[in-house]
Subunit: 388 residues, 4 copies
C-alpha cells in the first residue's frame, strides 16, 4: 500500500470537471420535469458549478456546451468564472439540434449541411481561443435509423473529412476529444459507435486527437476498464464523461449503478499513474439529474468519484503484482477487493478538513442556504435545458 | 400448406390498429424534428388514419391517447371517424406527463398523486363508454432511478390496489390491457418491467385483464415468440404494440429491424388460430417516425405486418408437426424457412386487388396528392406531439 | 439502524448451502482444467463441504446432484455427513446428460424419453425420502436450437404434465424448486426461460412449488432484486442459486462481479424478514471454480454472501422509509449507500470469534494443511466432474 | 439492378470455406451428444468437406485446426484433399487446450507458457508452408475471470510481443487473421475482446495482419455490418467466421437466427466489391452442430450464405444511392428491402444447374447414400471432437 500521505495528496490534487448542462433541466422523451432554482443562463450555471467546487474542492472547472452556453463575450464569462473561483473547461459542440441535422451533421448526405456543421465546430475552436479551453469535445449523434438509409462507408468518408478540417484548425495546445456512443438518438447505425472507431480516426488525425469514454455509451457487457487500459497503453485516452447506467445511456449519477465498476476504472487510471492532472486525462461528469435535486446530485457524484479513487489508491500494488505473477487467482482478486471493501469516507473527510473544507459537502450544501436562495432568486425567465 | 383461398381470406380479414400519436411529431430527448403536414388535433389524426385504412384495407381502427386526444364530445369524434371510414380503438391512458408524476403515478409514495392517477384511469373508462372502445391500455412509466429511492414491494402493493379499482370499474365488454416495459423513462426499477409481472397482476385481477406485448420493451436476447406462445396457452394475451428495435425501445417501423422475428411471432399467432378478430387479440402499431415521413411509414408498417402474416399462413403445419414429432431438427427448421423465404408480395397484391384496392399502397399514397394537400392545409396552429 | 446485537445474531444464524459439484472439476466447452485434490466421490465432496462449514460456521448443508452423487445407501451418506458435521440439502435432478435427452427431457417430443425423465425425477423424490431433504431442485436444459424445431406450446403442455406428476409425488414436508434460465445449453428457446414461466407453473401446481432464482440466469439488464421482491410478496420465492457473472451464465464466485447487486438482493431479503431459516428461503451457491482453487473459492463466496448480508442488515430501515415516503430521492439513496459503504469485515470477524471460529476463514484454511492433505491423499481414481 | 448474368457469375464464383471441426462432435459444457458417422481423423473430415463441395460447388477448401488435425505428413493430406476435389484452407491454431494454458497462452504471466504458446503458433506457420495455406487464424481464449487476476495492460504487452514474433515469421504470401471475441471461456476480461483491439494490433503489425470477424463474438446490439464496412474501408478485413446466435456465441448455422443481418453483412461486401476471391476476404464457416445432423447442416449453411449473397447482389445500387443522396429514408430502405424480400431460391437453383449440380443440394445429399455409408463404415475408433 502506498504511504497514506501520498494517497491524501493524490486525493487532494484530483480534478473533476462538472458540465454546465447538468445544472439545467433534463429528462427523457416522455417528460422533462423542471426544478425550482434551475439556472437560466450560462452565468447562473457557472455560479452553481462554483458552489460545487467551493464545497468539494476538486471541481475547479466547468464544461461549456455550444450553443446552449453561447454568450457575446467569452472573455467576460471567463472572468466571471474566475471571480467565482472556477475556470472554463472543455467546449462541447452541438450539431444535433438544428432542423438541418435530421439526417446527420458532418456525415449528412447533403454537402450544405456538412459545411454548416463543420463551421459550427470551427466556431467552437474560436470560442476555445477566447476561453482558453484546451479541449474540444466532439459527440456526433450522426447515424441512421433504417438499413439502407445511407451508406455506412460514405458516412465514414465524410466524417474523416470533417474531422481533418477541424483538427487542422486546432492550436498547438488544443486537443480534440472524440466521443463514441453505441446508439441513441440513431437507432440503426451510429457513425462513431465504439472506441475502435474513435481510436482509428484519432490515430489517422494525429496526436492531438484522443478518445473520450462516456461510461454510459457501451453495449451491454462491455468491459470498460479494458478500454481504459488499452487506450492508456496506446496513449490515446483523453477524457472521461462519467455517469452510470443500468440499461442504456441512463445518465445516472456516476457510481450509483455499479460502484465496483467505477473502482475498477479508477484502478486502471491509478495503475498507469494517470490520475494527476499533468497526465492529461480530463475527468468530467456528464449526467442528467431528471428527478433528483441537481446540485446535491452533482456533489454526490463528485464524492462517488473521490471514493472510487481513494479505494483505487489504496490497492497494494506490490502485493497485487506478486499475486498476479504467481498466478494466484484468488490472492490477486483478494488484494483488489481488500481495497474496495475499505470504507474510505473517513479518509476523505480528513482530506477535506486538511483543505479547509467541510468534511461532509452534502450536509454543508444543505446548511448553506444556497438552494433556498436560488429558488427565491431565479424566478421568471426561461430555465435552461436541452431545448429538445 | 393451407389452401390459398383460405390464406387470402385470412389476409383480407386481418385487422391492424394504428395509433393516433404516430401521426404526430415524435423524437428523442435530443431533438424532435417536426414534419410538415402533421396533424394539429385528434380530428386530423383520424383523417390520416382513415387514409391509411383506405389504402391498405386492414387498418379500420385508430387508438386514442388521453389527454393528447382529449375532446369535448367523444360521440362527435366517433361519428367523424365513422364518416371517414374508421372506428375508434383502444383508449391509451397517460399518467406520465404531469409534474405530479415525477416519482410515479399509481405507485407514487404520495397518496394524493396516486388518487389523481387512478382518477385519470377511471376517466379513461368513462371515455371508453363514450367511444365504445373495448380496450383500456395501461402503460405505466412508474419506477425508480436509484437503488433505495422507494420500496419495490410497497410500489407493487400500490399498483395492485390501483389496478383493482380500475378493473372493477370496467364494463362487461371492456378489457384492461396491461403493458410492461424493461426500462425508460425509469432507469433502475420499473414497476411493470416484464411479462411475468403483468401476467401475475392480470391473473389476480380477473379474466378481463390481459397482457399487452410491446415488441420493443424487452431485455436483449428475450425470445418474444416464446412469450406469445405462453400467453396464448394461458389465455392471457390481449394485444400487441408492434414496432421494432435494434437496441432499446427504438420504436422503429415494425419488421424493419428483424423481419424474421416478426414472422416467428405471427407464426405463433397463426398456429394458435389467433389471427382472426374473434380471437380477441388486438394487433396495434406503436411507433415513432422520428425522421421518416409518417403516413408512408405507417403504411409500410402495415404492409410489413401483412407480409409476415402471409408467410406465417403459408407454413405447412402438417409437415412441420411431422418433422417436429420425428425429432428431425433440420427438416422442421426447413419447413418454417420455406415459408419465410417465399416472396409473398405478389399474393398480397392479389389480395388487395380482390378487395378493390391499389396493389401498391405506398405508390398509391404518393400518387394520391394527400401529402401535398395536408402540407398545404395544415399551416398555423400547433402540431400535435408528445409534449414532453 | 437495528441494534448491533440483533445484526450479529442474524449473521450468526445465517445458513448457506454449498453444492457438491462445486468441489468437483468444471470448465467450459473449450476445456476443463482438473485440479489436484479434487474429490472422486460424494463422500469426499461431503468432506470438503464439512471443511467449509467448520471454517465459516454458516454452511451446514450440502446439496446433492443425482446421478453425479448417486450412492447405494443414502442413509449411510447422511450418517457420514452428520459425522462430518453437515447435513444433506437439496436434491438436484439431472435430466440433461443422457443421450436420450438430446432434444429435451420432460418436454421431448418422444413420449418414451419423457417417461424416462419423469421417472428420474420421481427417483429423486425417493432419494429425498432417504436423505430427509426438503427440496427438489428442478433445472431443465430443455429447449430448442432452431426456429421451428419444436412447438413451443406443445412443450409447455408436456412440461406442465411432468411437473404435475412429480408435484403429486412430493411428501407433505417436501418442496419443488423450479429454476429458470434464459439460455444455454438451448440456444433458441428454453422451456423455462424466465421467472414468469417458473412462477406461472408454480401457481398452477400448488403451494409446495416455488421459484428458484439463479443469479446468473437472466437477460442483460434484468433487475434481479425486483424479481426477489416480487416473489417474496407473492410468497413464491423458494431458493437462490448464488453465483455471479459479467456476461452470461459465467458461474463466477457470488459477489465477485457485482457486489452491489448482491447487496441489493440481500436488502430485499432483509426488508422482508426472509433471512432467517424459518422463512423458508434456501440460500445456495451454484458456481464453477474453473481456474481458481475450489475450496478457498467456496469459502470466499460464503464470506461474500455474509458481507452483503451484513451490509443489508445495517441499512437504517426507518430512515430509509422516511426518505422514501417524503420523496427525497437522494436522501433515500444515501441511506442505502451508507450501509453499502460500510466496511463490515470487522463486524464479521467478531461474529466468527463469538462463535469460536477463526476470524479469517481463508487464512485458517491455508493454515489448516487440508489442501495439502487432500492433494496427497486423493491420488488415483477418477476425479469428479460434470462428465459432459 | 445489375444484369442477371453478372449476378449468376458472381454466385457461381463465390467461395465458402468449411471448417474441419464442424464435421466432428461438439456440444456445450453440459453435454456433447455424439452422432453416428462422425469422422475419426482429418482424412475423414476432408472426405466430408469434399462431399459438401461436390453438392454445393462453392465450398472448395477446408480449414484445419492444429492440433486436432495434426498429421505426420501434410503434403500427403493436401494430396488426399486434392484427390477428393478440395484444397486445404486456413490453419487454425489452438492454444487453449493444454493444462499449461489455464491462465492464458501468449498472455500468460508465466514466460515459459508464453514461449510454448508462441512455439505452437510458429509451428502452425510451418504447417502452412507444408499445406500451402495462405491464412493463419489466431483466436486466443486468453483472458481473466476475476478483477485483479492479472494486469490488463501487461497482458497487452505480452500479446503484442507474441504477435510480432509470429508475424515476422510469415512468408511473403502468408497472412495473419486476428479474431476477437467478447467473452467465453474468459469471463471477466478477454485479451482480444473486440474489433478495435484486433484492428489496433493489426495496424501495428503490418499489412499482412487483418481482422477476422466471427459473427457470434459480439456484445448484444453490436452492429456487425458497420464493422464490416469500417474494416473494408480501412483495408483490414481479412476473413469471416460465419455462424449465428440468439444469445452469446451460440454457433448455430449461419443465417438461422437472423437472416436479415446476414443479408446486411453481404450487402456491405457486395457494395465494396469484396465478394470475388481476389478481394482477399476469406468467407469461412465456424459452427457447432450440436443436435442437428452435421453434413446437412453445413450444406444448409452454405445455402444460407448463398441466398443472402444473391439478395445482396440483387440490390439496385443506383436506385439505392439516388434515394440515399436525396435523403429519402423510406425509399432507400425500400430499395434494400426489395432485394431482401425476393425469393432467390429459383435463381440459385439455376446457377447450380448451370454448374452441373443438383439444384437442391440438401435433397441430393439425402439421396446420395453418403450418410448411410459413413455411419456404416466409421465404426470403432474415437470420434473426432473438441476434446474439452
Amino acid at each position: 500500500m502506498p504511504p497514506l500521505n501520498e494517497v491524501r495528496a493524490a486525493l487532494a490534487g484530483q480534478r473533476i470537471e462538472t458540465p454546465s448542462w447538468a445544472y439545467a433541466n433534463s429528462g427523457t422523451r416522455f417528460k422533462v420535469f423542471p426544478q425550482p432554482g434551475v439556472p437560466r443562463d450560462p452565468w447562473e450555471k457557472i455560479a452553481d458549478a462554483a458552489m460545487v467546487h467551493r464545497l468539494t474542492g476538486v471541481a475547479p472547472t466547468v464544461a461549456l456546451h455550444i450553443p446552449w452556453d453561447k454568450v457575446d463575450d467569452y472573455g467576460k464569462l471567463a472572468a466571471y468564472a474566475a471571480e467565482q473561483g472556477v475556470g472554463l473547461g472543455a467546449i462541447n459542440s452541438n450539431v444535433f439540434q438544428d432542423e438541418d441535422y435530421k439526417l446527420g451533421s458532418v456525415t449528412n448526405p447533403d454537402p450544405r449541411v456538412r459545411r454548416k456543421a463543420v463551421d459550427h465546430l470551427l466556431e467552437c475552436v474560436d470560442i476555445m481561443d477566447a476561453t482558453g479551453s484546451r479541449d474540444l469535445k466532439l459527440w456526433f449523434s450522426d447515424g441512421t435509423n433504417y438499413p439502407g438509409q445511407d451508406s455506412i462507408r460514405a458516412r465514414q468518408d465524410r466524417l474523416a473529412e470533417a474531422l481533418r478540417e477541424v483538427y487542422d484548425r486546432l492550436g498547438p495546445d488544443q486537443r480534440m476529444l472524440l466521443e463514441y456512443k453505441l446508439f441513441e438518438p440513431a437507432f440503426y447505425t451510429t457513425d462513431v459507435p465504439d472506441w475502435g472507431t474513435s481510436y482509428a480516426h484519432c490515430v489517422e488525425l494525429g496526436e492531438k486527437a484522443t478518445v473520450c469514454i462516456d461510461t454510459g455509451h457501451h453495449a451491454p457487457g462491455t468491459n470498460i476498464e479494458f478500454i481504459v487500459a488499452f487506450l492508456l497503453r496506446a496513449g490515446r485516452l483523453g477524457a472521461f464523461d462519467f455517469n452510470s447506467r443500468f440499461y442504456a445511456d441512463d445518465d445516472l449519477m456516476v457510481g450509483a449503478a455499479d460502484p465496483f465498476q467505477l473502482f475498477r476504472i479508477m484502478h486502471e487510471i491509478v495503475s498507469a499513474d494517470a490520475l494527476k492532472p499533468e497526465a492529461g486525462i480530463a475527468f468530467m461528469l456528464d449526467q442528467c439529474h431528471n428527478i433528483e435535486a441537481k446540485i446535491p446530485a452533482i456533489i454526490r457524484s463528485v464524492l462517488n468519484v473521490q471514493e472510487a479513487t481513494a479505494k483505487a489508491l489504496l490497492v497494494d500494488a506490490e502485493a497485487l503484482a506478486a499475486a498476479q505473477d504467481s498466478g494466484d487467482v484468488l490472492a490477486a482478486n483478494a488484494v483488489l477487493m481488500d481495497a474496495y471493501s475499505t470504507d474510505v469516507r473517513p479518509l476523505l473527510r480528513e482530506v477535506r478538513e486538511e483543505a479547509g473544507l467541510d468534511p461532509d459537502p452534502v450536509a454543508a450544501y444543505r446548511a448553506s442556504g444556497y438552494q433556498e436562495r436560488i429558488e427565491a432568486d431565479r424566478v421568471g425567465g426561461t430555465q435552461a435545458g436541452w431545448g429538445a
